[in-house]
Symmetry: C2
Subunit: 197 residues, 2 copies
């Protein structure tokens, strides 16, 4: 009963996939701004209207799998291994997400993809929004995990900084080292702001 998929839903999923595939191919080939939604729709052999029934915007065509980032983020903080600090847990989670992502896409074009995202303002901003959208939830999780008062600012700050650190890490040649240093800064600042661990 986990897949009560009728023919209808299958076709829908297929159309969606065609669109995402066509979009990725065209964008990588010609560049995001050089491709219109019309081109993508044509390549997937559907109408433009249909495209927008599947994806809320042109940018969304690029970031297909938008699953439960938020839940995972909150869980990373709540269920961290005992003794591990919150900044450390976040560092691990963010690096994990990256490698998962890189592995999941078996395409050797993965490097081209990330480069394209970083070099296209519309996409960079969209990706940024996707992350920061969960800032409030992360802040709440941190507040709870730290047993801090409701509106503690350090917790909100840590949430935002940690999410921002991702962008910093992404564009560096050596992600692991970048993450280590950026989160070391947060780690020490956090420990100092919070006398009782």
């Amino acid at each position: 009963m986990t897949e009560p998929t009728g023919r209808r839903e299958r076709k829908k999923a297929q159309t969606r996939q065609s669109l995402a595939d066509a979009a990725l191919e065209l964008f990588l080939e010609r560049g995001y701004d050089q491709v219109g939604v019309k081109d993508v729709a044509d390549a997937a052999d559907v109408s433009v209207t249909t495209l927008f029934k599947h994806f809320p915007s042109k940018e969304a065509l690029v970031f297909d799998q938008d699953d439960d980032l938020e839940a995972a983020l909150v869980a990373a903080v709540r269920d961290r291994t005992p003794g591990q600090s919150i900044p450390q847990a976040l560092r691990e989670h963010i690096l994990l997400k990256q490698t998962q992502f890189a592995v999941h896409t078996t395409d050797p074009r993965f490097a081209d993809f990330t480069r394209m995202v970083q070099e296209t303002p519309a996409l960079r901003d969209y990706a940024h929004r996707m992350w920061t959208r969960h800032e409030a939830a992360l802040a709440r999780a941190i507040t709870e995990a730290a047993g801090a008062p409701e509106d503690d600012i350090s917790c909100a700050a840590l949430a935002r900084f940690a999410l921002e650190a991702r962008g910093l890490v992404l564009r560096h040649a050596e992600p692991n080292r970048a993450a280590d240093e950026a989160f070391a800064l947060l780690e020490h600042g956090w420990a100092a702001s919070r006398p009782g661990s």
Copy 2:
């Protein structure tokens, strides 16, 4: 010779001002998304194309004075009072900018203005971009001031976090306290990452 302003340039400046004024008034009255660029152009009695000759985008109508944020930011780090830490200098500079801004606008509608910016996604994002645009320059200034190697990640991280802190501070009821806590976190993290002050 500081103002060799001919009639021509005066008229140009006047047109620009009319546009900015009309835009602000209409936006505050009806809300940003409820006003089209056509409405603004009409209210200023110019054509839409003229509007775009003065402002590169609809959002730019709102943030008229975009002077030398970057130079000021870099100077705040380079010329900080001796003995003051870099995070402290940045905290002061950011709070200063805010109050300067608030005073400069004698309008009692100032509160409405900031509320509107925070509540309109397009404007929030634009303001954010205006700040983060100078991240690279700030990072370079910090690197120099700290005597760190060219690509030191802690410096880049501090630059980004400090700029992000502004958004955090802005939405809080008590900006000073928020700034104190957010920058305290950076202060301690920075000191720890940097053995020799």
